[in-house]
């Protein structure tokens, strides 16, 4: 970023928006006084907090980041909140009072001895907030605190933030991509642009009215802007008289994780059909990921069966997918994991895309042409020689979907494909998936994202304990 001029008064609650690369996170770490200037490159201009260099005011600033797992330090919840207090040399006798008060303010549902590795993402984030709150910050900096959370957890975290704001009256600077929900926490919106400074600053309604289109185009989730719909065309009855053909059938599958007290899944049946996108929804712990793993042939169901139809697997049809060799599996069922980096196998984007075809013995020049074509469609041509790990989040996601599709599977299974993405990447991804579906493939997506369901899903399966009444088009797990 350059040329940033911004003043924030005490007690203001500000939402920082802008496309990726605009410098939002950089600004927050600078305000927190922990920007490592050694690696930041060049710095110019002046940044002060309370009139002095941010390093001097660090003890009055609370910073909460995106990934709850890498903010917690101790094995027990109370100890973690106490960690910050110990660092700031708060006298021993006062520590535990403040810990309890902080846990109470954020609505932490357990006591001090709760193990931190037994918390959900939302609970962990609330614990991180408690840790920041316990230090009585006058400036609260929040860098996408709900990005990695399901909607329920995100809501509870927002409530905790609101409670902290009420209690401390601290100045708040929030970076959040779920803009619509974040508006209740702020009074003012500031928009940054990559390479320049502030391009908009004021009340949310005004800013969105004046700049909404440009912001949406650059990837910001501007509220009240409709997303494109990508539903399948109505099925033509085919020769067999039915609608779409089954590719993969799960029949009353059940599974219990080792060490789990309850089954993750009981008696779920689902059919994946060609030319159709199925979304499975449900709260955390309802078994969406487990179901995805079993359909993907990566785990064997404890009860019930997962079976591929002859259309998908030919003569292998009687053999359950979890027994197929990996290269056979990849050519029939592609799986896209939550973290794209888990699936990277090579050191170059080009090699990633060529991996599947080369493994199957296709000729080098044919592969080369296919790869070039793919790079072009994915807008990754300039990155062909780059190490996949150095790509941005959105680029990695596109690449991982592409590498899952290059072996040509009919079925594509995805686990939370749109987590934490900006609007532009989201639209591109949905387009990619719709293209696969429209060419006869089948899509199965486990997701929290209602927008994906609304935009792409032709059928919806709901898992979980509070199941809604049956609605046409929405199935409920039996």
């Amino acid at each position: 970023m350059r040329g940033l001029d911004l003043t924030i008064e005490p007690g203001e609650r500000v939402l920082l928006l802008g496309a990726s690369g605009a410098g939002k996170s950089t600004l927050l770490t600078a305000l927190a006084g922990i920007l490592d200037l050694e690696h930041a490159g060049d710095a110019e201009g002046r940044l002060t907090v309370d009139g002095v260099h941010p390093r001097a005011t660090r003890d009055r600033v609370g910073l909460v980041l995106q990934d709850p797992e890498t903010q917690l330090v101790m094995a027990r919840a109370g100890d973690d909140v106490a960690f910050g207090l110990e660092n700031r040399a708060v006298p021993g006798p006062q520590i535990w009072h403040r810990v309890d008060a902080a846990l109470d303010t954020v609505g932490f549902p357990y006591g001090r001895d709760r193990r931190t590795d037994r918390l959900s993402g939302g609970e962990q984030q609330r614990l991180a907030l408690a840790g920041a709150f316990a230090l009585s910050p006058r400036l609260l900096l929040l860098d996408e605190p709900t990005a990695n959370l399901d909607p329920v957890g995100a809501g509870l975290v927002r409530e905790a933030i609101a409670a902290i704001q009420r209690t401390t009256g601290a100045t708040t600077v929030l970076v959040e991509h779920r803009v619509a929900e974040a508006l209740e926490l702020v009074d003012r919106v500031v928009v940054l642009t990559p390479g320049e400074g502030v391009i908009a600053d004021g009340e949310p309604a005004e800013v969105f009215a004046a700049h909404g289109d440009a912001l949406a185009a650059s990837g910001v989730w501007v509220p009240d802007r409709p997303l494109p719909t990508r539903k399948a065309r109505p099925a033509q009855p085919d020769a067999s008289g039915g609608g779409r053909e089954d590719l993969l059938v799960a029949d009353r599958v059940g599974y219990t994780h080792k060490g789990g007290d309850r089954p993750a899944l009981t008696g779920v049946s689902v059919r994946l059909r060609a030319g159709e996108a199925l979304a499975v929804v449900g709260p955390n712990g309802s078994g969406k990921s487990t179901l995805a793993t079993m359909l993907a042939g990566l785990a064997a169901p404890a009860t019930g069966t997962v079976r591929a139809t002859p259309r998908l697997a030919g003569s292998d049809s009687p053999v359950p997918p979890h027994r197929w060799r990996a290269h056979v599996l990849a050519a029939r069922i592609g799986t896209v994991f939550q973290d794209p980096e888990h699936q990277f196998l090579t050191g170059r984007v080009r090699d990633e895309l060529a991996f599947g075809p080369i493994r199957r013995g296709e000729k080098a020049d044919a592969v080369g042409r296919r790869v070039d074509d793919l790079l072009d469609r994915l807008r990754l041509t300039s990155l062909a020689e780059a190490n996949p790990f150095t790509l941005s989040g959105g680029e990695k996601r596109r690449l991982s979907v592409a590498t899952a599709l290059t072996p040509g599977p009919a079925v594509l299974i995805l686990d939370e494909p749109t987590f934490g993405q900006d609007r532009r990447t989201w639209v591109e991804l949905v387009d990619l998936l719709a293209a696969h579906r429209d060419s006869g493939g089948s899509i199965f997506a486990a997701t929290h994202d209602e927008a994906v369901v609304a935009s792409l899903a032709d059928r919806v399966l709901t898992l979980g304990h509070d199941r809604p009444a049956p609605v046409p088009g929405r199935e409920v797990a039996a």
Partner: protein, 251 residues
Amino acid sequence: MVLDLHAGRGTGRLVRANPVAKVLAAFVLGLGVALSDDPVTPALVLGAVVVALAAGGVTMRVLLMRGWPLLVSAASLGLTTLLFSDTEQPWLTALSVTVRVLAIALPGVVVLVTIDPTDLADSLVQNARVPARFAYASLAALRLLPLMAVEWRTIGLARRARGVDAGRNPVAHLRLFAGTVFTLLVGAVRRGTRLAVAMDARGFDAVGPRTIARPQVVRRSDVALVLGAFAVLVAAVLASSALGTFRPFWA
């Protein structure tokens, strides 16, 4: 696949003892026994330790649950000694090695079973002058252990989904292993970097002393524990010398 560091802890006085004292006692016994070369001294120490443990509340059940790999390894070690050594009394030598290994390692296994990592870190900082930054950074990293264990499995599944598995081929297994190690480490280093930022944001790099939320005291019983370990060692050496069996390793 659950890697649980806190499973199977016994109850009783030993759990409540100071962590550093427990570790010191185990070290004293272990090093002391390692210096002897005969079967009698370690056997005496082993016997004394088992009795003391029972008195301290560590049940046989817990010991076996945590200690069976040790038994297996000690037995295998005895067997190896038989095959690879060249002494006048091979069976005696093998037995001696086996008993020695058990005597060295058993206190250490027990200590593990009765120690909580947070308590150990606190005790190291408060009682042993270990720098707080290293102790608590280690604790923070340790917290990520179960996460990384799950991630190991996920990476394996992710590779299978891309068409990579190992089957029967040992070279393929090694390649898959190496690739998984690499991916795990990338994630680990990234997580470590983010964790460091979060810790600094909470004042971890502040100059000046930290205060203490969980005091770890050294009681007389803890001092007695360490002195007791010395005493057991000395008594065993004396008894073994009296029996004429004692032999230090340099003899």
